[in-house]
């Protein structure tokens, strides 16, 4: 089998990037009225709970999406200033504690646990 010509392969990569880039742009626009976890059968593919989830259409089927598309659901995701400030404060606390820990090493501190893996 012939080697792949690098320039020719790059042309293919550029084409793929163009295709995917257009899709990502459209996904962003589509997401303003339709949850990206909602598939073409209006089923929910999310692995987390959402208030818009409805019982499946068939007994063993996937949950259905009950969002009516009438509003931009992302408003529910928008960070309100208070929760944003809480998150910022938490990050500041994490950094302070880390700096304190490094300044005064504790012999009982646990080492990097490489066994803590997801199944």
């Amino acid at each position: 089998m012939a080697d792949i010509d690098r320039e020719e392969f790059q042309k293919r990569l550029d084409r793929i990037s163009e295709l995917f880039g257009n899709m990502v742009t459209h996904a962003d626009a589509q997401a303003s009225t339709r949850c990206p976890y909602r598939n073409r059968f209006d089923q929910c593919t999310a692995k987390f709970h959402c208030r818009n989830q409805r019982p499946p259409a068939e007994a063993e089927g996937e949950l259905m999406c009950g969002h009516d598309g009438a509003f931009d659901y992302r408003a529910a995701w928008e960070t309100d200033p208070e929760s944003f400030e809480k998150a910022k404060a938490k990050i500041d606390k994490i950094k302070r504690e880390a700096a304190h820990r490094r300044a005064a090493p504790d012999d009982t501190a646990e080492p990097h646990d490489s066994e803590n893996q997801k199944p």
Partner: protein, 247 residues
């Protein structure tokens, strides 16, 4: 000029008839598939159905039969993805279907990558990606991964609910120059900071460039957490990864 009847594969003919409406796109798509070998058409059809296992088998079969890798890409994978793009644009399919098709494309490309390596064509770099601990949202991350792979990056996907230890283990194992963290909730965003601190504690911080993203994340947050970069969307993620991998 090629006609629809010149395309052997019934699924491809049906897809063109049902989902492509613009005359120029119909003509171009028919032109591509009319010259494609039947096996390439089968690869494209399987990709359109999101059947990653079948794309995997057929791509392997094609290469074993001596089909050139670029031909598999042109007339199987990219041709199929072209129709996916049209269907998505016209809202016949949505993000879950696109990601399934992207997964099928990845399955096909997995057989082409060794050929690329043998020819000395290197990837752009390796990126470890994950959604942080406590967060189960993954669409944004998955779109970023799709873009990164499409741009020539190798990606290790750690999935959702990823602990600092899991990020560190992956970066060490794969010697990843770049790592990306995603968070969709303000309550899980701080875990990005925790993970970065864990890298510092383990003396791994200098070994990897860390980028962050997600709906509630901002440049200010990224700077506060000590990240090396922030990407506001999947397109920015790729540009950022390209700059960080050179850093």
């Amino acid at each position: 000029m090629a006609e629809l009847s010149d395309i052997q594969n019934e699924t491809i003919r049906d897809e063109i008839e049902e989902y492509i409406e613009r005359p120029a796109e119909i003509e171009r798509t028919i032109g591509i598939f009319a010259q494609a070998q039947p096996l390439m058409q089968r690869i494209a059809a399987a990709l359109l159905e999101g059947d990653h296992q079948l794309v995997d088998e057929l791509a392997q079969q094609a290469l074993n039969e001596g089909v050139e890798a670029l031909e598999v890409m042109d007339f199987g994978l990219i041709a199929g993805m072209g129709i996916v793009g049209i269907k998505f644009r016209e809202n016949f399919i949505f993000v879950p279907e696109v990601l399934a098709c992207a997964r099928a494309m990845k399955a096909g490309m997995a057989h082409i990558e060794p050929i690329l390596s043998a020819a000395g064509v290197e990837s752009q770099g390796l990126v470890v990606m994950g959604t942080v601990k406590g967060d189960l949202h993954d669409i944004g991350k998955n779109l970023c991964i799709m873009m990164l792979r499409g741009s020539g990056f190798e990606v290790v996907d750690l999935g959702v609910d990823t602990s600092a230890d899991e990020f560190m283990d992956a970066v060490e194992e794969h010697k990843a120059p770049v790592m990306g963290m995603s968070a969709l909730l303000t309550t899980t965003m701080p875990n990005m900071g925790k993970t970065i601190e864990a890298f510092i504690d383990a003396d791994l911080r200098d070994d990897v460039q860390i980028m962050v993203g997600g709906a509630p994340v901002t440049q200010e947050f990224a700077d506060d957490m000590g990240a090396d970069g922030y990407g506001k969307d999947a397109l920015a993620c790729v540009d950022l990864a390209k700059s960080l991998v050179k850093a």
